[in-house]
Subunit: 250 residues, 2 copies
């Protein structure tokens, strides 16, 4: 991947497609993985949507997201069955034709004997006009990129291989850096001063996460995030001093 | 909860609020739980969105979802810190005032000594005008229901207790029933015939889920879902016959 020289912000949305996620039958494992992965390569994930295998819903979500964010990643709905309608929905959203793509057929034939490449399996080779294929090292059936939409499989191992392949092609932004501080205090005791600190450092994103620690009781982790390391150092020192003062009082 | 006498469909959306989910720092555990829970009580989860702690984004998502679905559940953003802005965002979406609510203060005082009820902790008692409180058996700070929006905590144990409390008050729909069939075949071999079966039973939702089984290789689970048990029996018998035929050929 190419690191941009200017510290720009690159944004993304994720669209998870599948009835099985909404019914609870399958527990999604992709949202957390993709969120952490994109953060790691300097892309800000700004929104996630989960929609059913319904063309109108998929098209509406694609149209809502692809104009607002630099990239849209999708997972799910690119298998061989009747409810795998992601590729057709993407083609519809972009208003381009879709058909069986010989490049994708060639990839499928690396794994599937020709006499088993039935009509259903050929669905996996339906690619919208003008799309670039995304390599699938696990089971060959490719994903694709059309415009700023990256269409990936729903099976986590395959999605992860595809995300690696897509990431190589993306210019990424200035990387978000973070610092975690163990407050040693309850969230309600930290909240007020942390709000003041946030106001003093508007370009540092500050969050607090209460949790229970064996032998300690309720305590809080403070997380500071920014793209500018020097600014983050300054905010961290100020946060440490703030916490020190609060612990002295407690 | 009241079971409606007519087999109606009750729909819902889930709005997950929090920067920490989008950055990948926290892995969401609520989507899968809520999806399965709602399915179990006969409510169809139709869409999920994850948005950051940004008022405009929360209000826009609430407005997009609350008019389209019977219920909207939210998780996250009701703690004591500056970035906990869910209650204020809900008030804004509904155009109602919000202030510290004495009922919520009384609940907080059951757990927090009066001299520790500082300004930050009082944020947890900010409730929009006209809302009903949702009990929090875990840590007292309540959620609330305003119109068709149910505002819950993000911490899974607290969210789960709140969901139990909300569910008691909801009329639920005819319960979705499901049947799982082990196909013993690869998805690409099942896909075509399953598509035909789906066309023959338009009121039964049919999905297929490929997975790898030790000693068997790639195989597929077929899931049939419908509210009408007799129809589901019929579809299941047809699916068994279809699979039997395919296995004979394989």
């Amino acid at each position: 991947m190419t690191e941009l020289s200017e510290p720009t912000v690159v944004t993304a949305a994720l669209l998870v497609i599948g009835d099985e996620i909404l019914s609870g039958r399958t527990k999604d494992k992709n949202i957390g993985y993709i969120a952490e992965y994109l953060t790691g390569i300097g892309i800000d994930l700004r929104e996630v949507r989960v929609v059913p295998d319904v063309e109108d819903d998929i098209v509406a979500a694609l149209d809502a997201l692809r104009h607002r964010f630099d990239h849209v990643f999708t997972t799910g709905g690119i298998g061989p069955t009747h409810d795998d309608i992601t590729a057709d929905s993407v083609a519809k959203a972009f208003g381009v034709p879709i058909d069986v793509d010989q490049r994708a057929v060639d990839l499928l034939l690396e794994r599937i004997p020709k006499d088993q490449l039935n009509e259903a399996r050929l669905r996996m080779a339906r690619i919208p006009d003008g799309a670039d294929l995304i390599e699938n090292k696990v089971s060959k059936a490719p994903g694709f990129t059309l415009g700023n939409v990256h269409v990936m499989a729903g099976v986590p191992s395959i999605m992860q291989a595809m995300l690696d392949a897509v990431a190589e092609t993306l210019p990424t932004g200035a990387r978000m850096q973070s610092r975690s501080l163990a407050a040693g205090l309850k969230e309600g005791d930290v909240a007020g001063p942390l709000g003041e600190l946030q106001a003093a450092f508007p370009d540092v994103s500050m969050g607090s996460y209460p949790h229970f620690e064996e032998g300690v009781g309720f305590t809080t982790t403070i997380v500071l995030r920014a793209r500018d390391a020097a600014l983050l150092d300054e905010a961290e020192a100020a946060a440490e001093a703030m916490l020190e003062g609060l612990r002295g009082r407690a």
